[in-house]
Symmetry: C2
Subunit: 398 residues, 2 copies
């Protein structure tokens, strides 16, 4: 079946699966071993959507464990993948090796940044700029190994604007933006137990299936490269998913979001399927577009936008943000109305009896809240399952 894949590749995939399983077992053991250290280091949170939320300290930033084990497993994998070229006289594939190192360097930087963010609470500007700098070595490797910045345009538009465009430097800026987008998109699609890690594993599994299908194609090497990263990622993430599933015993922290996002970005960039990969990110793209009014302060943005618990029924309802109507600029008002018309949010106007000002109470602009607007109040676990279902559907349509 896999004409381009030789026996050695099958061997490395088997070793990779074994190593990832071992990695998963290691993460699974590390979580309980280190949870006290995390809590002692002030790295814990309370689960806001539980009835007796103040009772239990839940260790945060556990993504650093899966990230660390991922790096160790990938270091060992490098040695195995390149072992067939290590005998004297072999023509060593420097290009491939460069890609591995640059990919791991970018991922390692993002794990460091994510962990620093969990510990120190960094600013937004840092979170946006640093992924771009972290992807610099990767872009340089792309330039050296491929250098092609030409994109093939879809057939319908070819008669009008040509069959292909050479984007030049713009293509590198685009790739840098992919890194920034992937790392932050997962981070803002969060708030209920298991959702960050759940979506990451579904995206990884989709990429994995896509890679397997493409192994027969002309870019089999790139897809093999991506395969190793995805198998290892899934291996070290499954224990995190289990413990982060409702009711959460751990929180994944920004570390996991950045780690997962950068891992997807590097395989997309090096594997030349960053545009296809965006299709796996549809819920995230959708959530990002929906979040724009609040992220860019056209509409007031509270500290937390996660749904809030209705303790009597133990279900989640959309969280709301309240503000005076005259706080909004015309663009903000337009966005409020637009997203309300397309049913993404619900808002009500009331008049404050004291000040006679018009007050607006709107649901927050995230698809988690939209899902609750559409389906009515839901139990937290059901909500996560629903959102994961949406992610699975949107991934496998493509």
């Amino acid at each position: 079946m896999y004409s381009k894949v030789d026996r050695f590749d099958v061997f490395t995939i088997v070793v990779n699966i074994l190593l990832s399983t071992l990695g998963g077992i290691l993460v699974n053991r590390l979580i309980p071993m280190l949870s006290k250290s995390f809590i002692k280091a002030n790295l814990f949170g309370y689960d806001l959507n539980k009835r007796n939320k103040e009772e239990k300290k839940i260790p945060e930033a556990q993504g650093v464990l899966s990230g660390g084990v991922f790096l160790i497993a990938m270091f060992l994998m490098i040695a195995i993948v390149f072992s067939e070229h290590l005998h004297p006289g072999s023509d060593f594939p420097h290009n491939k090796f460069l890609e591995y190192l640059a990919a791991l360097l970018s991922i390692c930087c993002m794990i460091l940044l994510g962990f620093a963010d969990d510990v120190l609470d960094l600013r937004w500007s840092v979170k946006v700029c640093l992924p771009m700098i972290a992807s610099l070595p990767l872009l340089l490797v792309y330039f050296v190994n491929y250098g092609s910045t030409t994109i093939i345009l879809p057939k319908p538009v070819r008669p009008i604007i040509g069959a292909q465009w050479n984007l030049g430097i713009l293509y590198y800026i685009y790739m840098g933006m992919v890194a920034v987008f992937c790392t932050n998109a997962i981070n803002i699609f969060a708030g209920v137990n298991g959702i960050e890690i759940g979506q990451s594993i579904i995206i990884a599994a989709s990429i994995l299936v896509f890679n397997f299908i493409e192994l027969q194609g002309s870019c089999s090497e790139e897809h093999l490269f991506s395969l190793y990263f995805m198998i290892t990622f899934i291996g070290v993430s499954i224990p995190i998913l289990i413990k982060n599933w409702y009711p959460s015993q751990i929180f994944v922290g920004d570390t996991l979001c950045y780690f997962a996002g950068m891992t997807f970005a590097v395989v997309g960039i090096i594997g030349h399927f960053s545009k296809t990969m965006m299709l796996f990110f549809l819920p995230q793209i959708f959530n990002f577009i929906l979040s724009i009014p609040q992220l860019f302060k056209f509409i007031p943005c509270p500290r937390h936008r996660l749904p809030r618990l209705d303790p009597s029924a133990n279900v989640l309802r959309p969280s709301r943000v309240d503000f005076r109507k005259n706080e909004l600029k015309p663009l903000g008002l337009f966005m409020l109305k637009f997203f309300s018309i397309i049913k993404m949010i619900q808002y009500e106007e009331t008049i404050n009896q004291d000040t006679k000002e018009i007050m607006i109470s709107s649901t927050n602009f995230t698809i988690i809240n939209t899902a609750l607007c559409w389906c009515g109040p839901l139990h937290e676990e059901k909500l996560t399952k629903l959102l994961m279902g949406v992610q699975v559907c949107s991934c496998f349509v493509f």
Copy 2:
């Protein structure tokens, strides 16, 4: 003068110095900006050797700032160093690029490990194993680019055991050990204000001078490589030295020790001067040998071995460890007597009037305490200056 160094190399060195200066300025601004975040994140300590030590919370783990800025500066440097090969048709030096990426990957891993250690207080076994794994990509690059594991033996022994030995796999184990040694040696030669960062900068400056001298030689490319790392390292470290100098406003944390140690290890390995580099580590080697009895528990080891303050005179005296003589195994007793005879430690025996057991009170086994045994009680700043003087002398003799 520099026959092998062309104008482009001079240009990159100038750019490097500028970038490092900017990096230093950035670190200098980040320290006060983020100190509250560090203290809020429980990353602070009290300076045990100050009179009113409980009064002031001093932010810890500041090495992560210099490490982070170091990575950013080096990413930008890569783009500049390789810019002359980026035009079409140029023969891109994949080997060199591999070295940069592997070096930065190892360093980034160690910054992550160091920061995790500062936050989570990891175990000794982790600290010893992980540097070895982090150096794996580097060793693979060494294998691919050079592969030579032959060492030239010194002249006097050649008639007996031959002029050169091919160490094979042993040479890789040796290089892995260099990484483990460098990262931990700086970490255990610590305890008074400014000493970790002071020794690191002196070692870096020594390597820098050595590189400059060797630029004329046959390995000029390797020394140029090392030069970029050392210039950047010194640039981002100077603000840390200034603020960590007596009386400390910040602590550097394990992050800095690991970051510095791994930076030295990678330039030593890639630059083929790991054996020469060991000469710059003489005080650390000495301190390590002296610490063996306590590190390996032949003699009881207290949590802290730093000298203790005599508040009345505001001077430091050697710290002591007290234990029963019959706790020691014969080897421990031998080590105690041996190091006492060569005047590295001082100990006294007393008899406990109640239990009639022989009690031993010994100074701790570090060269900081040895220095205090030899020179008598010293003010903390004077002690640091003295130890830095020793480091400078031992580096510049070679």
